[in-house]
Amino acid sequence: MTLMNEPVKRAEVKPKYCRFKKNGIKYIDYKDPDFLLKFINEQGKILPRRLTGNSWKYQNKIAQAVKRARHVAILPYLADQMK
């Protein structure tokens, strides 16, 4: 799910797309940890755009939302095994 844009088989490389642009999502809520969990790895780090396929605009919004969630202890700053 998270790594939907990462090519597993080199032979069939699908073009990357931004899921926010595609689905028309304009605002990313920091209060929703389940949704933000798709954009961070097991250590709680924000995944790069290379893997998520987000556009620059929405990747920045994701980063903003994750950082806000961390501040109010909805998401951890550090984690060993989140998923």
Partner: protein, 159 residues
């Protein structure tokens, strides 16, 4: 632009008095500042009893209403587990207040009030843009219940 002093010299006439440092938009003073929506989340100490927690939330709501802010929504999420320990405590009372005000200094007074109150462990105030205001309206109506919310997104992502 030719300075009025030079025009006077060249034309040999006396121009009417001008302001030495003209204000560019004097009408700005009369314009009413636009209302902005804010959202503030704060975590209260779990040592408090539920009544005490309620009272502290009411205290902050009162502070906002006294300053003529328009309190849109107050949410109490109750005792929640935090992602990491704050002040050696793993749980806390989460509260959310959404309000609209034209007075931006109100945020400062609110945050100093948070800092003075020892029962507030963590707080955050953010400005809402037009998209987040719409989102919050829909959230209040309960359009984003967990099951409803995730189903369409998953489908869309897999296509």
């Amino acid at each position: 632009m030719i300075l009025p002093v030079f025009t006077e010299l060249i034309l040999g006439i006396r121009l009417p008095d001008y302001e030495p440092f003209p204000t560019f938009a004097p009408h700005f003073k009369t314009i009413v500042k636009p209302m902005k929506n804010y959202e503030t989340v704060f975590i209260l100490n779990p040592v408090l009893s539920e009544d005490q927690a309620k009272d502290t939330v009411e205290k902050f709501v009162k502070l906002l209403t006294k300053a003529k802010a328009n309190v849109i929504n107050v949410e109490k999420w109750g005792l929640k587990k935090m992602a990491y320990a704050i002040q050696n405590k793993s749980t806390g009372f989460y509260n959310l207040i959404e309000f609209a005000t034209a007075d931006s200094t109100l945020i400062n007074t609110l945050e100093t009030e948070y800092r003075r109150d020892e029962s507030v462990m963590r707080f955050m105030t953010i400005v809402l843009d037009k998209h987040s205001i719409l989102y919050n309206e829909r959230r209040r109506k309960g359009e984003f219940n967990r099951t409803k919310k995730q189903a369409p997104r998953k489908e869309a992502a897999e296509v």
